[in-house]
Symmetry: C3
Subunit: 139 residues, 3 copies
Amino acid sequence: MNYREVESSREFLVSLDNGADWREEIEEFAELEDIESAWFNAMGAVQDADVWFYDQDDKEYRSVTFDEPLEVAACVGNVALLDGEPFAHTHAVLSRRSGQSLAGHLNAATVFAGEVYIRAFDDPLEREHDDVTDLDLWL
Amino acid sequence: MNYREVESSREFLVSLDNGADWREEIEEFAELEDIESAWFNAMGAVQDADVWFYDQDDKEYRSVTFDEPLEVAACVGNVALLDGEPFAHTHAVLSRRSGQSLAGHLNAATVFAGEVYIRAFDDPLEREHDDVTDLDLWL
Amino acid sequence: MNYREVESSREFLVSLDNGADWREEIEEFAELEDIESAWFNAMGAVQDADVWFYDQDDKEYRSVTFDEPLEVAACVGNVALLDGEPFAHTHAVLSRRSGQSLAGHLNAATVFAGEVYIRAFDDPLEREHDDVTDLDLWL
């Protein structure tokens, strides 16, 4: 494994705007506060969701769109620089009225309500292309 | 979005009591330690669960009850004041023996075993009625 | 409930190795850094997964194996000493290409890519046998 000890001197609570995009809101927040590295945890509800699954053989993301209201039961992610811009790598577990759960890489979702805890790290984190997975990874 | 930088000077590990209510245990802990604002992460197992889904059109919670043992695969939440009392807004992802997963807003659940990390913030956080969503939101 | 205030003076980001075991990587990291108590949060993807469900009546874990690529939508866990060795108690929510979600206690899983945030606590945490649940619990 690769790892790095990190220092954190700033942490935030963020309330996402109804109607905005879940991931874009987090990235805009990172830009506003000059955050180039962070870990976050979130919960709430969305009006729809574009969820990605990475095809480990074909090395391509596959998208599934859920055009329906969903709870965000859990959301885990981190912020790092991708091509010089803060990118919020976001995974989420969503749920339907029946309690049925859906999950994956959250590319986009229209916020209904969102509560986020973000822990910013002092040193920037950068994503670089990894040949084995064909993904942009850090460290 | 709305956001606030927070300061935290206390953090805790909590082991929930077998037979108690998952959310009430967290709220009792908050009262014992005078916590008016916190973020938490948890895992464990429950003996049953009352899971809520917010109907974004009718602006009402719908309840689904699972009267069966379930793993708590992930639990994310936060503590804020609601009408002057600490309220633990709790979302959870649960699972059955088959691995099938259920999720949503966790209103109540009988603890089998529960392990919780709680990060308390120094300044209180208050929930207030939001007209757009008809929910009690913070910030 | 039982609880303990904890102090943390070290936190880390870890990138798990492709092909390694998800939980073993976290335990090896804990050994490398002499961590005897920690909380973690993670996300990524795995090539397969051995997921456990605790049978609360028979007091035994039941295993389900998923021999297929899965996203790790959310992973929550903690490190404590079990028989003197760091044990990473790991729960995870996984997902398929359809967005269908699976979850439970993650015994083993072959890493495709894994991003972990680990918060180490200064004082050791030890698991001891609990008669009520027949599990090894802390505090």
